[in-house]
């Protein structure tokens, strides 16, 4: 198992390395003159050239890449061009904020999604299953940004239950903080929750029809125990893989939701960076996103390994 995880780790490293080249390359061909963006409309050509020189923009691209990658390896993300300040603290603040959003969302997605899926699988064909199925069907079709709009109209406009901004700092009190988090999290999780629940339902149904569940029933195992001990663990395996992939979808959602709810996280920072053509910031954001996504996949792998003895205990042993 250790070897397997080491392989995964190596794999992630390779992916991140390849991605860093890709990110660097794409951001280099972005239009818009960086020096121009910094200096503004009133800069002269000589000033622009001088700044470009200073920023090393005239070096060959691989030299620039190597400089950047070296910095990256030393956890030096460089300075924001537009804000003229180190990126790291800005980025870490944003990551922290996004992490709160992402973790509470993915937690909710996992818990509620799996629960709903299991619920409808074991009530297969009954009213409860139909209601959940219908609800997930509709929910799945609503994009995050429309959730935001609907939630704002309903809960902020008509009912006035929740604040529309997605963020207050924790220093203003836990409840205020949590209250502000509710709408963005709800907007983020609705679609994913439906996705996870549908997936869990189908894999649960498959497992419930498996031979070993039949065998468990034939042993006289009570139905509740059949579900908990025999079915759930095996049914969750595909769900875990999908949860990891959903982290990617979640990141997309975070960009939208953070924008709409004015939530100071990574997604908004990225949009801001793209709008401002702040190349080092774009690069830093994207590499962080890549790493986070890769790590999410690694965690899913670990969890998968933990739940799946096939991987945990390697190939077969003859006794």
């Amino acid at each position: 198992m250790f070897g397997y995880l080491l392989q995964r780790l190596l794999y992630i490293f390779v992916i991140v390395a390849v991605m860093s080249v890709l990110i660097f390359w794409i951001t280099q061909i972005m239009p818009g003159n960086v020096a121009y963006m910094i200096l503004g409309d009133f800069a002269g050509m000589d000033q622009i050239l001088a700044l470009e020189q200073k920023l090393g923009l005239h070096d060959p691209i691989h030299v620039q890449y190597w400089r950047w990658a070296q910095g990256l390896l030393q956890f030096d993300l460089g300075d924001s061009l537009i804000m003229e300040r180190p990126i790291a603290p800005i980025l870490f603040d944003a990551i922290g904020n996004s992490a709160i959003l992402a973790l509470s969302s993915i937690g909710l997605v996992a818990l509620v999604g799996i629960w709903l899926g299991v619920y409808s699988a074991i009530h297969h064909g009954k009213a409860g299953d139909h209601i959940v199925s219908l609800a997930t069907y509709v929910t799945l079709a609503v994009p995050e940004f429309f959730w935001c709009v609907l939630l704002i109209i309903l809960f902020v406009g008509y009912l006035g239950w929740f604040p529309a901004t997605g963020y207050t700092s924790l220093s203003e009190g836990f409840f205020v903080w949590a209250q502000h988090l509710i709408l963005p999290v709800v907007a983020l999780v609705m679609g994913l929750m439906a996705h996870v629940s549908r997936l869990t339902r189908s894999s649960m149904l498959e497992v419930m029809h498996s031979q070993y569940v039949l065998a468990a029933r034939a042993k006289g195992v009570p139905e509740g125990l059949v579900i908990r001990r025999h079915a759930l663990r095996n049914a969750l395996l595909p769900t875990i893989t999908v949860l990891a992939i959903d982290v990617g979808v979640l990141m997309g959602g975070i960009v939208v939701v953070e924008t709409i709810f004015s939530y100071p996280g990574l997604g908004r920072l990225l949009i801001f960076a793209i709008q401002q053509m702040d190349v080092p910031l774009i690069q830093a954001c994207l590499i962080v996103v890549t790493i986070v996504y890769a790590v999410a996949n690694l965690l899913a792998d670990i969890l998968y390994t933990f739940l799946n003895p096939r991987i945990r205990y390697g190939s077969s042993v003859n006794g």
Binding site: I15, V18, P31, V138, S203, M251
Partner: protein, 284 residues
């Protein structure tokens, strides 16, 4: 376990309800997408300052927007762009992904390695990021966001096609073709592809919904369709400032979007049921 087969001779089963409903609604949406301009009671860009932000009424079914334009007409027009973007993007991912997947699945060796490692990299970028990146590099337009969304889904198509291809390649009739000394392209196109289509078609249907939603999200972020033309995503984005005063401007295209996506999902599930009842792949 040998439970009795339902019938010794195959019988025609009734079409699944999801397919009938899905196809029906989707056909209706397609019809609107094509005929929208003829059905629309007003021009999509006809402004009327006196009628701005009117609530839904008998004249303006979905009300009017901040320019006094008829929201209903705009939703009808928007269908075309949203659907075109969804289908266009999916076609792109299909056109690139399926051949690559077949090649990776059939030829194995280094082509497979090259394609699959490329796919691994592409797939490790969260979808919207790739879209943002591509659109940040170029000026926004409909076809570019369709391209971006299409490219995003290429890895999924490659993986699916490859796995289906491998599955079919394990079948003995493919071996029989090889035993006849058939050429690679014949086996790919005459033996494998016809059997690989069902899951690909089902996946395609689902991809269309995802492409519509992602395309709308990119439009929503201002990276797709340009005003005054408007797809549903952009309509919602533009209506955001008015959601407290005139929620219908945002809600009408949103509901249209949701209904379309539901219809295509139904269609996909229905197709799955008749084309590939064993398939248990869920969307990725």
């Amino acid at each position: 376990m040998a439970l009795p087969s339902m019938a010794s001779a195959p019988r025609r089963r009734p079409l699944p309800a999801s397919l009938v409903w899905g196809a029906g609604i989707f056909a209706f949406v397609l019809f609107i997408a094509v005929a929208g301009p003829f059905l629309a009671p007003f021009d999509y860009d006809q402004m009327n300052i006196l009628k701005r932000m009117q609530a839904p009424s008998a004249v303006h079914w979905f009300g009017t927007d901040e320019f006094g334009r008829d929201v209903f007409s705009r939703v009808l027009y928007g269908a075309r762009l949203s659907i075109a973007m969804g289908i266009g993007a999916t076609m792109i991912s299909l056109a690139i992904g399926v051949p690559l997947g077949l090649i990776a699945g059939y030829y194995r060796g280094w082509p497979e390695e090259a394609i699959m490692r490329g796919v691994d990299v592409l797939i490790s970028i969260p979808p919207i990021m790739l879209g943002l990146l591509i659109l940040a590099v170029t000026t926004p337009s409909v076809w570019k966001s369709a391209l971006a969304v299409g490219v995003i889904y290429v890895p999924i198509m490659v993986r699916l096609t490859r796995s289906v291809c491998l599955e079919v390649m394990g079948e003995e009739f493919v071996e029989a073709a090889k035993a006849r000394g058939e050429r690679g392209w014949y086996i790919l196109f005459s033996e494998i592809l016809p059997n690989a289509w069902p899951p690909i078609i089902v996946e395609t249907a689902l991809r269309v919904t995802f492409a519509i939603m992602l395309g709308a999200a990119l439009s929503f972020l201002g990276l797709g369709v340009q005003p005054p033309a408007s797809d549903w995503g952009l309509m919602i984005a533009e209506a955001r400032p008015f959601i407290h005063q005139a929620p219908w401007i945002a809600v009408a295209p949103g509901i249209a979007l949701v209904i379309t996506v539901i219809a295509i999902n139904l269609l996909g599930d229905g197709l799955r049921e008749i084309l590939d009842p064993r398939m248990k792949r869920d969307r990725l």
